[in-house]
């Protein structure tokens, strides 16, 4: 394999890996940290992509248009997420019943998907990038699309921001404390309800951001919902529930592995994420560890 071919596949794998990370980041925060089983994560991702096409259609496929989409869509979705958390999901916390959360968020995902079809129709949508982002760089004979480089940089920044929020801020400290003992935190005078709402809204904003970023990669259709949800769960489970660094490494690992498998045996490439998840779960089982780490571990 030549260096150029190796680098081409590496760049393709990194691009795929960071798209996977964006689809998983919001779910990892909401499910992994808050413990809310969010089956609407794929619908949030899809809605983010559709809203991006609306902003771009109105403002234009310019740098300003994309900056507005990257800022406005996650903000709007965070507000909607906060509303959903306060009006619906909050009622499920006391029972600690994940089945309720599953059914509720599944219903929300159907509602979002139905609303998208009503508003946008079932047709294909596609958006273009500003000209400076649509090109590519040549590196050692390989081609690195500029947008792929931007997605990688943005992904690293988002991962760092989440890690910083959880482990270097008072909000993060309180969130982790709430995961460990919600009642004790409330007794100490912390408004745990508001804290959960804020973190849930942030998780939804992350999911929508993923949709905005991915809308430039390919076609925007209602199928983005399932296209995002399944890999998101695979990445979160493989990386370790609530472990943002693990999710990032899992997403990159799966993306790069899938890319190189495509080069050698393309038929098996789609199996790569499942194989990776199975291998990690088996390794945990053989090592005597729980398959999904206890969320209390996140708190610690």
């Amino acid at each position: 394999m030549s260096l150029a071919t190796f680098l081409d596949q590496l760049f393709a794998g990194l691009g795929l890996g960071f798209v996977l990370f964006f689809s998983a980041a919001g779910l990892n925060l909401v499910w992994g940290v808050l413990g809310v089983m969010n089956f609407a994560a794929g619908a949030v991702y899809m809605l983010g992509a559709y809203l991006a096409t609306s902003v771009i259609a109105r403002v234009g496929a310019s740098t300003l248009g994309w900056l507005l989409a990257l800022a406005l869509v996650p903000l709007l979705m965070a507000a909607l997420g906060a509303l959903a958390e306060m009006a619906l999901l909050r009622r499920t916390y006391r029972a600690r019943d994940e089945n309720q959360q599953f059914m509720l968020t599944l219903a929300l995902s159907y509602l979002i998907a139905g609303a998208v079809v009503l508003v946008y129709g079932p047709g294909l949508r596609s958006v273009s990038l500003p000209s400076w982002l649509a090109g590519s760089w040549r590196l050692a004979g390989a081609t690195l699309p500029i947008y792929t480089a931007v997605v990688i940089a943005l992904g690293v920044a988002v991962a760092a921001a989440i890690w910083g929020l959880l482990y270097r801020t008072r909000v993060g400290l309180l969130t982790r404390a709430a995961v460990d003992d919600r009642t004790m935190l409330a007794v100490l005078g912390v408004d745990v309800g508001r804290l959960y709402t804020a973190v849930f809204a942030f998780g939804i904003a992350l999911g929508a951001l993923g949709g905005v970023v991915d809308s430039a990669n390919g076609a925007v259709t209602t199928k983005l919902e399932t296209a995002a949800l399944v890999p998101a769960f695979i990445v979160v489970v493989t990386g370790g529930l609530g472990n943002m660094t693990g999710a990032l490494l899992a997403a990159i690992g799966i993306g790069v592995a899938q890319s190189f498998v495509t080069l050698q045996t393309p038929t098996y490439a789609p199996l790569t994420p499942y194989a990776a998840m199975t291998a990690v779960l088996l390794a945990r089982a053989v090592g005597g560890r729980t398959l999904l780490p206890d969320r209390a571990a996140v708190a610690r």
Partner: protein, 404 residues
């Protein structure tokens, strides 16, 4: 991204097999009633229409319905058929065989439709074909590419688009006509259509001076085809016969531009209008083909009847196919002077029908209609044609690919 789609299809096929068996028995009972074959005076002739409004190919299924509804409106405005108005009953088959069979059964037994049309996936088409073939004898007009649906034993089923065998043969003929393309790569979708069309292509490339340097199957609905594109670039083919469809083709083209694919190779494949028009940057100059009838491709009386749907829908191709399916049923009833299924089948099979494309022959051996395939380089939108299209267009007569 749908991982393990083939496994899901296998499960769905097993599940619907049982459903088909049960439904076939039920339909058999229903068909024994004499009233099934006549429509009372003043009553409408009901046509059941399956559309994949959700699931795979939902992105263009509403246009199928709009085309079918336009045909109904046009025919009814002209007095209907044999004094009866036509009525369209639309059901969502979700692009799932078991759902399609269930909906078809309900349309026939519950709604007492006399005719069926629609769906855009071979999997649903195949299941419904088994259901309607025997013993209920409900004429079914469908636009799917699986050649195994259209056999002598399924003579109540009529096809409105070329099969994968015809499509692959035509693609091979086009590539062979360009001997300067010495290295040919094939990228096909990882499901039945992709396998069938690539097999037909390879079969018809046998003996050619050109070399097929690679054949890969890519998953549908993938968020990234970059690794496939990089692999193709490394193989340096002169042309890539790419049969990814709809949103997958959009994603492929979008990612191919920055990777420099079009600097080293050519893309050739099913670039129908609804797909290339959805691209923010269509692959101008690349050779493509489409067999779904966009109104602007034809100057025929029925093509003009798509005009009220508006430029975008009338040129989607899907609307034209939906329109054709209803027209064929209506013309069959007119020719037979009856709604009796065997009479309608007999009137259509081996005859000609007026379609958006013009007068076309229905081959008696398989009830497939030899519609033309439109080919040409992709051109950007113009003032006259405000959507991406082929220019110039060559309409290939597909009768030459029929052996009967």
């Amino acid at each position: 991204m749908v991982f393990g789609k083939r496994a899901a299809v296998v499960r769905a096929t097993f599940a619907c097999g049982l459903l088909v068996a049960v439904a076939a028995v039920a339909l058999g009972c229903g068909s024994s009633k004499g009233s099934q074959n006549t429509v009372a005076a003043g009553q409408p002739i009901k046509i059941g229409y399956l559309a994949s409004l959700t699931g795979f190919c939902s992105s263009f299924s509403q246009d199928y319905v709009k085309g079918a509804q336009q045909a109904i409106a046009t025919i009814n405005a002209e007095g209907g058929v044999l004094g009866h108005k036509l009525q369209l009953l639309v059901r969502d088959d979700k692009a799932e065989p078991n759902v399609g069979v269930s909906q078809a059964r309900d349309l026939v037994l519950g709604e007492h439709v006399k005719f069926l049309a629609g769906t855009c996936t071979s999997a649903v088409g195949k299941s419904v074909t088994r259901l309607v073939a025997n013993p209920s004898h409900v004429p079914y007009v469908v636009g799917v590419a699986d050649p195994t649906i259209f056999t002598g034993s399924n003579s109540y089923v009529f096809g409105t688009i070329p099969t994968a065998a015809v499509e692959g043969a035509n693609a091979a003929a086009f590539v062979r006509a360009h001997p300067q393309w010495k290295r040919v790569a094939v990228l096909a979708e990882d499901y039945s259509y992709g396998y069938e069309v690539s097999a037909a292509f390879r079969h018809n490339m046998q003996g050619a001076a050109q070399k097929i340097v690679s054949l890969e199957y890519a998953p549908s609905e993938s968020p990234s085809y970059s690794s496939y594109i990089s692999k193709l670039i490394a193989e340096k083919p002169d042309v890539v016969y790419n049969t990814l469809v709809a949103e997958d083709m959009v994603t492929f083209v979008k990612q191919a531009f920055p990777l420099g694919f079009f600097n080293v190779s050519r893309l050739f494949g099913p670039l129908d209008y609804v797909t290339i028009d959805a691209m923010a940057k269509p692959p101008v100059g690349q050779p493509g083909y489409g067999y779904y009838p966009a109104a602007s491709m034809y100057s025929t009386p029925l093509a003009k009847k798509l005009t009220p749907l508006g430029t975008a829908v009338a040129n989607s191709g899907s609307a034209g196919d939906g329109f054709n399916q209803v027209e064929i049923i209506a013309q069959g009833i007119e020719k037979a002077h009856s709604t009796e299924p065997t009479a309608v089948r007999g009137a259509l099979s081996g005859g000609t029908v007026q379609m958006v494309q013009g007068w076309e022959k229905i081959h008696a051996c398989n009830n497939l209609i030899a519609v033309p395939i439109a080919m040409g380089p992709v051109a950007a939108a113009t003032k006259e044609l405000p959507f991406a299209h082929f220019s110039p267009i060559e309409l290939v007569d597909t009768n030459k690919y029929f052996t009967c």
